[in-house]
Symmetry: C3
Subunit: 360 residues, 3 copies
């Protein structure tokens, strides 16, 4: 995948894999497999998988050695690894075959490492990378080519920083953090005050970004430094590509931000939150623990714990579904209204006709 990762060439018996992922094996435990591939690509020494019902039993021509499947597929006539959570089993199995391994080591001669930088043991620094003054990089971390680390940047242990990442002065990264190419950590927050002429006076942004352990951040994201204090991405968060996180935002543990999400300044996202693709969140609000926001929604008010919301502006998800269905029926409602009007007019006329002789 990248310089630091390489597919291992080892073969593993099916029985060992079944045990590792807690699957029930239907097939020969001695069969050796040496990799994983999609159903249509897998060869006779490779595992494959069926995780979605919709990709169901079209196994004609499938050459895979065995399939990882959920219990609903247990009756397929094929060597199977049957497990309650096939996606989790897939992840764990794939990890057996893909072992992180520095294919380069040491400091490339074309890298620029400042004299006062501190490098732990087994740190790898790629070609044309830049490590600033007093930066510190923990043991086992791999800084790939063309990365820029500013002054006083701290990187923990066993991190993987992909080519073209920029981490600006003073930002702090935990351990086992992965940051993909083109992402910028520690750019200035967007903070201005307006003077009497309507011109914008910059509020200096003097805080930092802190990223905790086990975070993964996608490509071409932007995470702004705090005005004062810190912008904070907490343990275990997973952030997709092209996500924007403004100054002083806090994202709680194990939350997921899907691609092209934008979060405005000082908003606090709880733990185990999911923001789907292209969601926007205004500043200075709170998204509760376990909340989920539907794709493309615009969240303008705080969201409670475990609440699901959708829409622009976002409302409870069920309400949004109902409203959307109503919108699609507006032509009918309008037609109903028109007919009812005609009927009422008719009634009115009838009544007036029936009453007028009586009134006479």
């Amino acid at each position: 995948m990248a310089e630091c990762i390489e597919t291992s060439m080892q073969s593993i018996p099916l029985g060992e894999i079944a045990e590792h992922v807690g699957a029930t094996l239907s097939g020969d435990p001695e069969t050796l497999v040496d990799g994983i591939a999609a159903l249509e690509d897998a060869g006779p020494s490779q595992l494959s998988f069926l995780t979605h019902a919709r990709y169901g039993p079209s196994l004609a021509g499938c050459k895979a050695a065995a399939l990882i499947v959920p219990p609903s597929f247990r009756d397929l006539e094929f060597p199977l690894l049957i497990c309650e959570q096939p996606y989790l089993a897939l992840a764990k199995t794939a990890q057996l075959f893909v072992k992180p391994s520095n294919t380069f080591s040491g400091i490339h001669p074309t890298a620029h490492v400042a004299e006062h930088a501190h490098l732990g043991s087994d740190v790898a620094i790629g070609a044309l990378a830049h490590v600033g003054d007093r930066a510190s990089i923990g043991a086992g971390s791999c800084i790939m080519g063309n990365v820029y680390l500013g002054s006083d940047v701290q990187i923990g242990e066993d991190c993987l920083i992909y080519p073209g990442v920029t981490i600006l002065d003073g930002c702090q990264i935990g351990s086992r953090v992965t940051i993909h190419s083109g992402t910028v950590i520690g750019s200035d927050g967007f903070g201005y005050a307006q003077d009497e002429r309507g011109q914008h006076v910059k509020i200096p942004q003097i805080g930092i970004v802190q990223i905790d352990d086990n975070v993964e951040i996608g490509a071409n994201c932007t995470i702004d430094r705090a005005t004062f204090g810190r912008t904070w991405i907490r343990t275990g968060c997973k952030i997709d590509n092209l996500v924007q996180i403004a100054h002083n935002v806090v994202v709680g543990e194990h939350s997921i931000l899907v691609s092209q999400v934008g979060i405005s300044g000082s908003t606090r996202i709880g733990k185990h939150v999911v923001l789907a693709g292209q969601v926007g969140v205004v500043g200075h609000i709170k998204i509760g623990d376990g909340a989920r926001v539907g794709a493309k929604s615009g969240v303008s008010n705080s969201v409670k714990d475990r609440e699901d919301v959708s829409g622009i502006p976002a409302v409870p998800h069920k309400e949004w579904l109902k409203n959307s269905a109503h919108i699609r029926r507006l032509s009918h409602y309008r037609e109903d209204l028109r007919r009812l009007k005609m009927k009422v007019d008719e009634l009115e006329k009838s009544l007036s006709r029936s009453l007028s002789p009586m009134g006479k």
Copy 2:
């Protein structure tokens, strides 16, 4: 425009241009022009153009040598190149004046090219570029400064890779492909399984990105590698800036993705599709050949061939137009409803008054 492209200084007679683009010339075929410019900027040796009716005849002060126009403007009192498809003629004419030409050649001494890289003839590699192990670059391709190519990357012939592009390990690029600055090809897909504690277990992403011939990709895009297999951008696609393409997506031939589009995992986009700006598409669906999706739409279900859809969630475009019109009239409908209620109440009272003496 960039190091590899330069405006030629040659002068071309109008008659030759008319022939080249299939235009009817109204004017002197011997007039020499040496470039193209917008209407208000064009000097006496430059061509200009009128392609949109709304930019119509304000030719007072226009100094251009001649204008490329559609037939509807054929009566203008000005030297004209009249053509059915003025925009296409403009493209072809501009290409006469702007010739790709390597203004640098060879490998810059500050570039890092791995020993086992393979470079075709006439490859140019700019300053501070990085070419990884076993990378292969086809004849005539230009890798500009600050580009990062990982290990085993394959680039075809006559490609133009702009400064700051990152192409990660194993990705395959066809011939005559242009990739603009800051774009990342081959970042990890966003794939996790959840364990029993709600924590995210990474599914290793071991596939590649394959980009076919004649594709152009804008600036700061992200195209993730496949989980297994390939993410695939097929021949002739044009992709604007800041577009996100997730793992295992396939984009069919000659499709257009406008700026800030996001496509989720495993979705298949057909041929000649147009996704307008800021569109989002969920994962695991199919957009049919020739389909068009309106700006800012959120597509959550498959779209048929040649269907036009819009809205969040996307519905057939005409239906969306109708629904939007209804939404703008909701105040009226509500008022109609209120009045009708009053009227019915009145009717009810009248009827009850008229009936009550009779019932007595």
Copy 3:
């Protein structure tokens, strides 16, 4: 914050700060402060602030030396700097403590500077930066590490170009411009004509990008060069992260584009305009001076001076609020309609019953 900026270590008396920002001081003018921090972080030698009512008086445990507050908080029992525009005062005070200061100077030996580049006095160029042929950089500008400047790029005085920025050939940057990491200036506009087979013929993009004085541009933005002429960002504009500006767009003086905004080709944005987050604007329209567009809106028609619009498609903001409220009440309207229908049916029956004996 970055190599070129450093927090000063000086201490300043409160009285001097009050005078500098035009605040009324309630407290000891001799108290020395040496920095600014958020309310919960500020220590006894630091200023803090209360600018939003919602962050109101929870001062228990606040250790700050004094607070910048609006007049509404003037009765707090705490040392105060009371000012009409606390946010502006905060900006001006913070600027006292954060002084731009080149912590590096001269040209780093690993930078690539073309022979024919022209550098003003006191220009700083960081490690692994690239300065193209005939590029010109004004006095006092700081080009940080890993920046790429193409040929013929012009940069004014006292600019700050952050690591990883790419400015392509021929683009012109004014003075006191700040550009954050990963931003691409001068990528090709997205311009194609379609030929008879539905394939896309590139319209060469031979214009430039011109950025005027005092502009600040966020991280990972893309600003495309003009097809012909220029894409133009005028004096004092502030642009947030991940913003897309297409070819030939003009953005007027002192306008604000919030994160993830996208503007299509040839659109003209007026002066003092605000486009909120994730707004999209179609091409070839005009947004008037002082107009404001609500977050996530899609603007498909020109907007008048000082008009506020929202929604997809955008309508006047008040109308959008009203329509959104109606949408949330559609269930009620529909229920009203259903009941009214029943009532009318009842009435009809009553009337027919009451009429039929009479008709007999």
